[in-house]
Structure formats: C-alpha cells, structure tokens
C-alpha cells in the first residue's frame, strides 16, 4: 500500500552534491526525485486504465462530470460556507466582547451547529424527502418522520448546550460574588 518514495527532504540536506548527474538533471528540470516521478506516472497510468474501463458503461460522462463537480462543490461551496459562518460568529465576538459572557460561549454554539449540520449533511435526502418516491417503493413506508427527528435531535443538542453554558456562566458568577 505505501510504496514510499525516498523522501528527498530533510534526510538529504544537500542532495545535489551527492546525487549522480542524471538524478540532479531530473531534479533540476522536474522538481523532485525520480522515484516521485515514476510513482506518479504509475498512478496516472492506472487511473487511465480505470477511465478506459469506465468508458464501457452507460453515462460514463455523467460519472466523470460528477467526480469533478463533487471536488468543486466541497472546495468552492461547502468549505467557504461553513468558514464564513464561523468567522462571522467569531468576529462578532471580538467586536462586542463586553456584551458577552466571559466563558468561551462561542463553542456552545459551534458544537450543536456542527453536530446538527453534519447529521443533516449525511441525511438531508431523507430529511427533505428528495427521494422522489424511491424510498416508499423500496421500504413500503412514507419518508415522513426524518424532518421531525432531525429537528428534535437539533433541539436536544441546543438545549443541552444551553444548559451546560448556563451552568458555566452561573458558576463563574458565584465564584465572583464573594470577592
């Protein structure tokens, strides 16, 4: 599994002095050791074989397109979205620090949002009933309870977080009162 190429980094602090001329020439024009090149070429050739096999099936173009779409969907949509949401939350915290409790309250928002969001990410087709009848024909049941279940789990997460956060704020106040 791990055909480890010779790591050309810290182990060889001055590689160009020790390597033979041919390897130095590869490194100069290529940017890494020859093993790096060979391993990548082997990987691409294998991927090429997989693509060649893929072309034998129906709608292989659709499969290839979705392969690229998922990459872009994460890097240019999902990631920027959750990063911006988190940053706007923490910027608000920095801008109005005096109005907010002195416990790291932001994590009492982050944790339920993250868990609830992840549960939605892995079950939104059920939650939003996007199966266009396939769920019912496969199971004999209507896909009706999932939205309610996800909302209840989300409510539970935020409630638990609020209880813990409230307890933390309260215990901090109690500690401050005697002084």
């Amino acid at each position: 599994m791990t055909a480890t190429p010779d790591p050309p980094g810290p182990q060889h602090p001055e590689p160009s002095r020790r390597r033979p001329a041919i390897l130095r020439a590869v490194a100069r024009h290529y940017g890494a050791g020859p093993l790096h090149l060979l391993a990548l070429l082997a990987s691409f050739a294998f991927a090429g074989y997989v693509v060649d096999r893929l072309t034998t099936v129906n709608d292989h173009v659709g499969i290839a397109i979705w392969f690229l779409v998922t990459l872009v969907a994460h890097d240019l949509a999902l990631f920027p979205l959750y990063s911006l949401a988190d940053r706007s939350l923490s910027l608000r915290a920095r801008r109005h620090p005096e109005a907010l409790p002195k416990v790291p309250w932001i994590n009492y928002v982050r944790v339920p949002v993250a868990i609830s969001g992840m549960l939605l990410l892995v079950s939104f087709p059920l939650v939003f009933r996007l199966d266009v009848g396939d769920y019912r024909s496969a199971t004999g049941l209507a896909p009706n309870p999932y939205l309610g279940r996800w909302l209840l789990i989300t409510a539970g997460l935020f409630f638990a977080s609020a209880v813990v956060c409230g307890y933390r704020i309260g215990s901090r106040r109690r500690r401050q009162v005697p002084t």
Partner: protein, 443 residues
C-alpha cells in the same frame, strides 16, 4: 498537502532561474484566500493534519476492502450476477463467496456503510486542515508539483465522490442517471490511484509530524495554553494566527463527537434489537410493527409489478435432469427445515428472522441433480434489478439455504416474497430472491 518536498522546491527554483515565478508575475499579487494572512486558525498545522490523516489511513483501507468484499459477495463470476461486467483486471481478486459464517456479509457491509457515515466528519476535518494549500499562490512551482496536484484531484475528488454516491444510494436519492454500481466501483479505483500515491508521498511527513506532539499532552491542554504549532515550510500553520477560541482537544472532541453522533443515529439499522429504536436517522431504522412479518421490506410487491393475480396463478417450476411443476401445497408437504438467518443489504441494514422451508439441495436432488454446479433463480419479479440471480454450488449445498415458505411460524407476507422465497446464509440481500417461480439447476 499538494506540494513536493520543500528542498526539492528550493532546488528546482534555484536551478530553473525562477521560470515559474516569472510566469506568475503577470498575475500580480495574490488576493483573497490566496494570501497566506487570510488563514487565521491557530489550530491548523502538520500535527493536526497528520492526526486526521492517520485515522483515515486506517479507515479508508477498511472502506476499500469491505467494498471489494461486497463486490465478491455478489459472485459476479456466475452468469448474470455481475453489475460491472466490463471491469477487466479490476476484478482480479474475486473469489467464490462464502456461506459461513452466516453473519459475514451483514458485518462486513455494516462496517462499510456505518464507517462511511462515521468517517465523513473526519474527511471534512482533514480537508479543512489543508485548505490553505488548495488556495496557495502560486499554485504550481515545478513539474513535480503540477503532477502531484493532478493526483490530488483523484484523491480529493475521489473521496468526496465515493462518500456522496454511497450516502445518497443508501438514502434513495438517485438524482443521477448512471448506475450506482458503475459509479461507486470505478470511482473507488480512481480514488485508490490517488490515495496510494498520496500515502506513499506523505507517509514520512505524517510520521515526522506526529512525533512533534503527544496526543496525551494535547488532551490535557486547555484553551488558555493552546498555542499554534511552530511555523514551518508545510504551509499549514497560519502566519498571522488569531487568538484561539477552541483548544486543540476541543476541536478533536468536536470532530469525534460528530463522528460518534452519526454512528449512534444510524448503526442500529444493522445491529438491530433495541438499537434500531435509536437509529433515528437511518433509512432502515424504522419499525413496521410487532407482528411476525413486520420487518424490513426491500422493494414491495407492488413496485416490482408482482400482483395478486400473478400470485394466484403461481407455481414453482424446477428444472434439472427432469422438470417438475409444484404447487405451494405440494411444497408444504415436503420435509421442512427451520433456520435463523439474516437478510443483510448492500445498503448496510440487516434483519434476522426465523425461516422455514425446503433446503435447496433437496429441490436439486428432486430435479435429478445430486452435484449441482449452480442454479438460475427466476421470480415473478422481472429479471432486471436482481429479479433473477445465479447461486453457486456452495450456496445450494449449504443445508441452511432454503426455499422459504414461512417466516417466524407464519406464511410469508406478499411483500416478503409469498408464495416462496430464497434465504441464503451470508448472501447479499438481493440474492435472497422473493416470489421465486423457477429454479434451473445445472450440473
């Protein structure tokens, strides 16, 4: 993540006289997320990335191997069973599927699906930790780096494609036109082409980075003592980090808790028993009731076109050295066997029930075939979509393989395959053909 090792970069830069740098001068200064200062999280760093990476280094091979096992479980070398018949060398490892232990497919496929849910947060956390590299400017500084970035398209595109096709398939969200089997099969191999090379190139870095901190110490380190990892050439550590709002252990706890939540709310559909009640977000976590035939249905009779009229006209045809036609009453008078066996679906859910019926081996010998090589199973259900299957000699001869007439002491319900259905130990769910109306034994 996406670059060749640092010294090689420096070497290439020095040697080529900054050809790549000149190329980028035309674009001016980097903007937006391409500016290193844009990345503020004090938690990103090679140790954190390597920790997530080490979890995936175990998890992804388990996913891959259980996926290969599931393909083998369909016995694709038998006539008509292969969902990806033009797989070429990619089926090199195929073997005759087993019948013992009867829970093997249930466990292996349960791991595949539930682990898929559980690893989703880890994959996203790993991607989060390396995102500065995706936007790093300049994107390419040598041919080596260009090739490595291309292979990362296989890795990152592959991992997301596999997770999304897998999760959407188990939730019946088929917004695509392609066959799920084609997409998930070839997607897996393309992903592996990127994964193996990535592990090969980054394993030394991962090991080195993991040695820079001890997990035990990090788990004791509160927010007030949380500092960024020392800045290095990895490009992961923020050059202008914001003050931490979450400790490193807090982040690990959050990712772990999220992963755990996906397991808690789905695993019960495979484990069954009382855990099914808490599998609130599992497609197959729901109860059908408390009667003897109230368990998970895969495809109702109505949806595959099995009507009451067809059932009323049903007889079982058995073909071998001779041909027999039997009614259900005649089948009921044959020696019956009772077995407790699971139905385990490729979608990860399972349900174990007590089945009563005639051993397939007995039906083979009734047809005059004592040493069957295989049996073609046909059904009232049309042949497409697993309406027809082919079973191996081992599956026929296992005494637990039944043509079941009853379940939990009562007649099968129509949705569970009345008048007769197969139940085969360790076979994937769809090989337990319902509404069986013809068995053609070959010797």
């Amino acid at each position: 993540m996406p670059d060749a090792d640092v010294d090689d970069r420096a070497e290439a830069r020095a040697a080529s006289g900054g050809v790549w740098e000149k190329l980028y001068e035309a674009f001016g200064r980097p903007r937006g997320p391409s500016r290193p200062e844009a990345w503020r999280s004090p938690l990103r760093g090679p140790w954190l990335t390597s920790l997530f990476g080490s979890v995936l280094l175990v998890g992804i091979p388990v996913m891959f191997i259980t996926g290969l096992v599931s393909y083998a479980a369909y016995d694709p070398r038998l006539p008509g069973n292969d969902t990806t018949p033009t797989h070429g060398i990619l089926g090199f490892y195929l073997f005759d599927w087993l019948t013992s232990p009867s829970w093997i497919y249930r466990v292996s496929q349960g791991i595949h699906v539930i682990l898929g849910f559980a690893l989703t947060p880890i994959v996203l956390a790993k991607l989060w930790s390396v995102m500065p590299k995706f936007f790093a400017w300049p994107p390419v500084r040598s041919i080596a780096m260009l090739l490595e970035r291309l292979s990362l398209a296989l890795l990152v595109g592959g991992v997301i494609f596999q997770f999304f096709t897998g999760i959407f398939d188990v939730e019946y969200f088929y917004f695509w036109n392609f066959s799920f089997y084609d997409a998930h099969f070839y997607g897996a191999w393309a992903f592996m082409a990127g994964f193996v090379i990535h592990v090969g190139l980054k394993f030394p870095t991962m090991r080195r980075s993991l040695r820079t901190r001890r997990l035990r110490d990090e788990l004791r380190c509160p927010l007030s003592d949380t500092r960024p990892e020392p800045s290095d050439e990895s490009g992961l550590v923020a050059v202008a980090p914001a003050a931490p709002t979450l400790s490193r252990r807090g982040l690990l706890g959050l990712v772990g808790a999220t992963s755990l939540a996906t397991i808690v709310f789905t695993a019960g559909e495979n484990i069954g028993g009382w855990t099914r009640a808490i599998a609130l977000l599992a497609p197959r976590g729901r109860s059908y009731g408390s009667g003897p035939t109230d368990f998970q249905i895969n495809k109702t009779a109505a949806v595959v076109g099995v009507t009451q009229q067809k059932i009323d006209q049903w007889t079982l045809e058995i073909v071998g050295a001779k041909k027999l036609v039997l009614t259900r009453a005649q089948l009921m008078s044959l020696p019956q066997s009772t077995q407790r066996l699971p139905i385990a679906c490729v979608e990860g859910w399972a349900t174990e029930q007590t089945w009563t019926g005639i051993p397939l081996a007995h039906l083979a010998s009734m047809a005059g075939i004592d040493k069957p090589r295989g049996v073609q199973v046909n059904s009232l259900q049309p042949p497409g979509g697993f309406g027809a299957t082919y079973l191996s000699a081992e599956q026929i001869l296992d005494p637990r393989s039944l043509l079941a007439l009853k379940v939990n002491g009562v007649d099968l319900s129509i949705d569970h395959g009345f008048p007769a259905r197969n139940i085969i130990p360790a076979a994937p769910g769809v090989h337990n053909t319902k509404w069986v109306n013809k068995l053609t034994f070959h010797d």
